[in-house]
């Protein structure tokens, strides 16, 4: 192993970790706000990726511009989905039943994408797809950096929103103690709807970031949901900073382990981390404290 390969893998790991953090952020938010396990999150990511592809295909414009439509659209879809579907589940069995419900939503999205666009694998052809610049001998690809930037902006935005706005306070109150939140006059149902909308809005950003640097097809979401679930469990269910830190650690770990172990074993790292977390620290490494504070 050479020094430059190590440095390159570090750079790739950080960029990958940033993307993972963005893709996982919504997933942990749904669980934090509503105890909903949202299997369809990755399907929405792929849906957003397809919308970005379709947008740039039809208009010839940069796919990033599709965010102007997809973010509000996904927010609206999230609110409606929470009000019409999720809120009808009985609170006692909410977590279990949300798995089944959102699984079916994922199937509907996959089927619809297949019906509309076919099973052909698509990729947005960007003039800057292969562009990169070199720092200390490591190449940083522009598209990966843009995805990382989107992740940073989206997560920072989410942080500010949750921390410093009345809606954020209401959301955090709902995460911490729904009954107490209701007692102080928070409409937790409406807040839960907004929380779900926010989660899906991050999926719109994440899906667009994903579309910049990967080939997409309708069933791709099954490859993503497992690693994303592992990230939010390791990070502590409901904690966005926890998910971000876990995403970074797992992304870096995967990228570095790939050098000595190869791709197949590097992938198992996610699941080993998941097992270890559940055995040693079932609430996740940040869930306990950070989720309360955040």
């Amino acid at each position: 192993m050479t020094g430059s390969l190590l440095l390159q893998s570090l750079v790739l790991g950080v960029l990958l970790g940033g993307l993972y953090a963005l893709l996982a952020a919504g997933l942990t938010l749904y669980f934090g706000v509503m105890r909903v396990v949202m299997i369809a999150h990755s399907a929405f990511l792929i849906l957003a990726a397809y919308l970005a592809w379709y947008f740039s295909q039809q208009t010839g414009l940069d796919p990033l511009l599709s965010l102007v439509f997809t973010v509000p659209l996904f927010f609206g879809v999230g609110v409606v989905m929470q009000r019409l579907l999720i809120s009808r589940l009985r609170p006692a069995t909410l977590t279990m039943m949300s798995v089944l419900l959102t699984f079916s939503v994922a199937l509907v999205i996959e089927g619809t994408l297949g019906f509309l666009f076919g099973g052909t694998h698509r990729r947005i052809q960007l003039p800057y797809a292969g562009t990169s610049f070199e720092i200390f001998g490591a190449n940083i690809a522009l598209v990966k950096l843009i995805a990382f930037g989107l992740a940073a902006i989206a997560l920072a935005g989410l942080y500010v929103l949750l921390k410093f706005t009345p809606l954020g306070q209401a959301l955090r109150a709902t995460i911490q103690h729904p009954e107490a939140a209701q007692l102080v006059g928070i409409n937790t149902d409406r807040v839960a709807g907004y929380g779900f909308g926010l989660g899906l809005a991050t999926a719109a950003i994440g899906g667009t970031a994903l579309a910049l640097d990967s080939t997409i097809y309708p069933s791709l979401h099954w490859h993503w949901i497992g690693p994303l679930m592992a990230i939010i469990v390791v990070g502590g269910l409901g904690s966005i900073p926890g998910a971000a830190i876990a995403a970074m650690a797992l992304g870096l770990g995967q990228s570095l382990l790939q050098i000595p172990l190869g791709t197949t074993w590097a992938q198992t790292f996610f699941y080993l981390a998941l097992f270890a977390t559940l055995m040693l620290h079932p609430q996740g490494f940040f869930g306990d404290r950070l989720a309360q504070r955040f």
Binding site: L16, A129, N139, T215, S255, Q258, T264, Q267
Partner: protein, 408 residues
């Protein structure tokens, strides 16, 4: 008490079912033997599930072939009729399907399904009933290691031999142009790995050192790290044992790292029409083996391309061509031997004839060894001026082989 009662009822039902199915298969079996009426061909295809895309392609090829035969007077003067079942890409299902086709429907001939995973169980059923089994897909080595003597793969070459023409070209290069090191990345899949490792073995024998040899699972989404290893090795050539999305993602990741090999070869993906749409102008010089191209100058190919294009409005691709080839191979045997019925004696004659003869098809002349392995190699295509063209071997080339490859 209840147990024995249930048992008796169960036995009665079973006996009734057996009698009934005996009657059914007896009656249809007899009608299949008469040598009159249409020739029934039984096929099971993955029309839904994982392999539904290629499965439907094979179906279009079979149906076009049957229509073409029937327009031209049929086979032995009889019309052909296809009986196609959907195995849902399921290996258990495919075996049951062929049992049903042979036993209950009393078909006269069978054609193979799609994909290695489905070909093996299907061929086993055909073998048990002594049926000739010509198949359009199932290029992995393991298909030919099962000891089948009734199986024939209706394509120019198995996966390991796809790159033979390229290996010959590389080893024939003058020493100063010959690559010295090679990097391989292959999907954990018998077909994809087979293509890359077939070339790897030949290049290693010729003294070209392997500097990277990566295998990745089919669900890999991130190719940055694999690309980093390849780029770091500075290998002269890169070979991908790929399907589709993995090749595209790997190529982009390699470009992002500024890696410029002298030669880049990937299986399957570059022949896909979506490939240049995904990669853009940077396809120049990328190589790929192909079992079929509508431009190939083999005698029956023009007829096939015209007939198919008229029927479907677009040119056929490899799946359709391999299905058509399967039809051509079986038809050649049937015409030569003069029989088409489920009788083991007739089926054995068909098998024996194919073992000893060469058949002209749309993918070129085909002959087989005793395991049913075709004795050819794939054509090598390369992107030249933005279009994919045959460059090897010399007899069939449409453009000159470019080496070293332009930067991507």
């Amino acid at each position: 008490m209840t147990t024995s009662k249930n048992f008796r009822i169960g036995a009665l039902v079973a006996a009734a079912a057996l009698t009934l199915s005996g009657c059914l298969s007896g009656s249809t079996g007899a009608s299949g033997d008469d040598g009159e009426g249409p020739i029934q061909i039984g096929i099971s295809l993955p029309l839904t599930g994982d392999f539904s895309e290629p499965g439907k392609g094979v179906q279009r090829g079979y149906e076009a072939w049957a229509a073409h035969v029937n327009q031209n007077g049929g086979l032995l003067g009889r019309q052909v009729e296809l009986n196609i079942l959907d195995d849902q890409s399921n290996a258990d299902r495919v075996a049951t399907d062929y049992e049903k086709l042979i036993n209950q429907d009393g078909v006269d001939l069978v054609f193979g399904p799609f994909s290695t995973r489905l070909v093996v169980p299907a061929a086993q059923v055909a073998q048990d009933y002594g049926f000739l089994f010509v198949e359009p897909a199932g290029a992995a080595e393991e298909v030919f290691e099962q000891g089948f003597d009734n199986l024939f793969y209706a394509a120019p070459a198995i996966a390991e031999d796809h790159y033979n023409h390229l290996a010959d070209e590389i080893t024939a290069l003058p020493p100063n142009q010959r690559p010295k090191t090679a990097a391989y990345a292959a999907m954990d899949d018998p077909f994809a790995q087979g293509t890359a490792y077939g070339l790897k073995n030949k290049l290693q024998d010729a003294g070209i050192r392997t500097v990277v040899d990566e295998v990745y699972p089919p669900n890999t989404t991130d190719f940055g790290s694999i690309a980093a290893k390849i780029a770091d090795s500075r290998a002269d050539i890169v070979v991908g044992g790929t399907q589709y999305q993995d090749a595209v993602n790997l190529i982009v990741a390699l470009r992002q790292l500024g890696y410029q090999p002298d030669m880049a070869a990937f299986s399957t993906a570059p022949t896909n029409p979506e490939f240049p749409r995904a990669i853009g102008r940077q396809t120049e010089g990328i190589l790929s083996p192909t079992g079929y191209t509508p431009e190939a100058k083999f005698p029956t190919n023009r007829e096939f391309v015209e007939f198919y294009t008229e029927r479907h409005g677009n040119e056929p691709n490899e799946d359709e061509a391999n299905a058509w080839t399967t039809g051509q191979v079986v038809a050649a045997a049937v015409e030569a031997v003069g029989c088409a019925n489920p009788d083991p004696e007739c089926q054995q004659k068909l098998v024996d004839w194919l073992h000893n003869n060469e058949v002209d098809t749309v993918v070129g002349p085909l002959s087989w060894d005793k395991t049913g392995k075709p004795q050819g190699a794939h054509l090598i295509q390369q992107y030249v001026d933005g279009e994919i063209k045959i460059v090897l071997p010399d007899e069939t080339k449409e453009a000159d082989f470019i080496h070293p490859k332009p930067n991507w």
